[in-house]
Amino acid sequence: MVAYWRQAGLSYIRFSQICAQAVRAAMKPQYKAEAEKAALSTIKIVKPKKE
């Protein structure tokens, strides 16, 4: 009953990310750009500056 990705140690969040990437990759170009932008906006990566 356990999903194969769960057994391999992946979380549902990761599963969801990969599925969303797959869907975005299959979108038509005019929709793909804004979908990618929207998806990126949920995460902001800030690299700490070395002082």
């Binding site: 999903a3 194969y4 990705w5 391999a8 140690g9 992946l10 549902y12 990761r14 599963f15 969801s16 990969i18 599925c19 969303a20 990437q21 797959a22 869907v23 975005r24 990759a25 299959a26 979108m27 038509k28 929709y31 979908a35 929207a38 998806a39 949920t42």
Partner: protein, 226 residues
């Protein structure tokens, strides 16, 4: 001395008997008010058991006979067993209140729809009003919404969750939603081939599983678009 001890013993015995009589009187009162099924004879017990003790009232049963009545008869006043009853009938099916949203857009907000078909990790099923409450997790697939007039609208959903509440409200939260005309079949097919080759070339377990997820999502896309 010894005589005093005997007297105090007799007094305590008498006190015990009096207490038992009071208890028995109470218990027999219960007995008279309880109609034991199949034991009509038992109702006559108080009348039969003490014909000669009219002076001391109706309840001077010897202790042994009291206990022989059984646990059911000796129901102490105030300690009633909870009344048994049937479960309440299920509420009449109300309208389904359907909410369908992704992080970027709201497609339905408390809308009244007839049926929603969802693809979940534990199988695809259709949800009508008065569906049993459940929490499910979605897998890549097509969500079909049947409006009140019967028209069906399809959306491809990448993943997410669905909640069916007892009041027939349904919340479908999806990661990525795309109507089928936003998706490109040729791109989906080429992505599927790419994912299959990635699966074959995966170096370790995690990469293999991730590629497998990609393959399944791409397969669902191709299946939905064909």
């Amino acid at each position: 001395g010894a005589l005093w001890d005997l007297w105090s013993l007799a007094r305590s015995v008498l006190r015990f008997h009096r207490a038992l009589a009071v208890y028995a009187r109470g218990a027999l009162w219960e007995l008279q008010s309880v109609r034991l099924p199949g034991c009509p004879a038992l109702a006559l017990l108080p009348l039969v058991a003490c014909p000669l003790r009219a002076r001391s009232g109706p309840a001077m049963l010897p202790a042994r006979r009291l206990l022989a009545l059984g646990p059911r008869a000796l129901r102490l006043p105030g300690l009633r067993a909870p009344a048994r009853s049937y479960a309440e009938a299920a509420a009449a099916p109300t309208q389904m209140s359907f909410t369908f949203a992704s992080p970027t857009q709201v497609l339905y907000n408390g809308a009244a729809v007839k049926q929603v078909d969802v693809p979940t990790l534990s199988g695809s099923f259709g949800i009508l009003a008065a569906h049993v409450p459940t929490l499910q997790v979605l897998k890549p697939g097509v969500v079909t919404v049947f409006a009140e007039d019967g028209t069906a609208t399809k959306y491809f959903v990448s993943s997410g969750s669905i909640t069916v509440n007892a009041d027939s409200s349904v919340q479908l939260l999806a990661e990525e939603v795309a109507t089928l005309d936003m998706l490109d079949l040729a791109a989906a097919k080429s992505n599927l081939d790419k994912a299959l080759s990635q699966l074959a070339a995966a170096p370790d377990e995690t990469a293999k599983v991730e590629a497998q997820i990609n393959v399944e999502a791409s397969e669902a896309l191709v299946k939905a678009l064909e």
